[in-house]
Point group: C2
Chain length 215, copies 2
């Protein structure tokens, strides 16, 4: 596993996932409050691939661009574009990730080249550097592979999954979006309480026909 600074929470995300978007927005608010988060990538296409039922043998990073179903074709270049953005630094990684999530899930733009370029502009990236870094496809695949390998070792199965500094890790799916610091702190504190509870909570999951109400 690659190491994060102690005290850092890792958040595994896939650009395909609207719940990961909500998780990234939550983490972004908490970062403004001084809490440390690190973005990591987990592939739902890989995680749900039938060849991977007993362990990962099919890796997204081994697939050519432009192959597979539409989710695979959308997510691989999105991940690689974000890996390129991250080479400009942590703030740029967050800015690009937020911009791409908002473009796709808030503004319903497809995960394709024009959207990546617009997100890079919106994020204020150095565009020439970003385009140059994108040419190093093998390097970007290698850094994506490191994320996917760590996710597989942890047993991530959905996004967003947060890995706390103490090593506890859980999928946290919530329906609503907040950019309010007080609200974000409450939602985050409750998640921490569940993971730290003396009960040893493994799962709280709503029954299939009783979804959470949107507030």
């Amino acid at each position: 596993m690659t190491a994060s600074p102690s005290g850092t929470t890792e958040v595994y995300v896939d650009f395909l996932c609207p719940y990961a978007w909500r998780g990234v927005e939550l983490a972004a608010v908490l970062r403004q409050e001084g809490q440390a988060f690190r973005l990591r990538h987990f592939s739902l296409t890989q995680g749900n691939h039938p060849d991977n039922a007993k362990g990962t043998v099919w890796w997204l990073t081994d697939q050519p661009l432009g192959e597979g179903d539409r989710f695979q074709q959308a997510s691989l270049p999105a991940f690689l574009s974000a890996q390129a953005a991250a080479r400009q630094g942590e703030e740029q990684a967050w800015a690009y990730t937020l911009a791409l999530y908002r473009a796709h899930h808030e503004h319903k733009q497809p995960l394709e080249e024009a959207t990546f370029v617009q997100a890079a502009r919106d994020a204020g990236l150095d565009l020439n550097r970003w385009e140059a870094d994108r040419q190093d496809e093998s390097g970007l695949r290698a850094s994506l592979r490191a994320d996917l390998a760590d996710a597989a070792e942890i047993g991530v199965f959905g996004t967003p999954t947060f890995v706390l500094p103490d090593g506890s890790a859980a999928y946290y799916r919530f329906e609503n979006l907040t950019r309010d610091p007080d609200t974000a702190r409450q939602w985050w504190a409750l998640y921490g309480e569940v993971l730290n509870a003396g009960a040893g909570i493994a799962t709280i999951k709503r029954a299939k026909n009783r979804p959470a109400r949107r507030s």
Copy 2:
């Protein structure tokens, strides 16, 4: 759906499930504190049956006793024995359910006839009446079927699943056992907070390779 008195939380359980045991123990403590719970039955064998992937067509209550895999063969008579105990009243239903859970999960007794009889004794049932009620197998199957049908309508997929008076329903899996009132209240309050949170929490579930630590 059959109606419970308002203010009553229903708890769906399967005698096969060690997490349902912990849930029943929690509810039993809270009942002593004056909170209303009603026992309901959900069948994991039915819920996980491959024929039921798109809706329930295979019902445990349509199966002969003594057929199917060992889980099916253990759970059907256990459910029916508990349905018979419930005819003696709510307190007797709880006493029998607790006795049978403890026999199976705490004392590692198999779910079979000798264990049912011992649990009935431990629960202080009227044994003659219980044995007579057990002869009404079609009636017991009908009341079990009502539970299974309600569970299917709610979308229960695991045990224990609690259905709160407001209709919200979620699987609550925790690793540890408590019979302490203060602890039980805390664990229950946290579950309620998750279901009522403004975030609209659908799922908190640990990553597969990071189980909850037992305290």
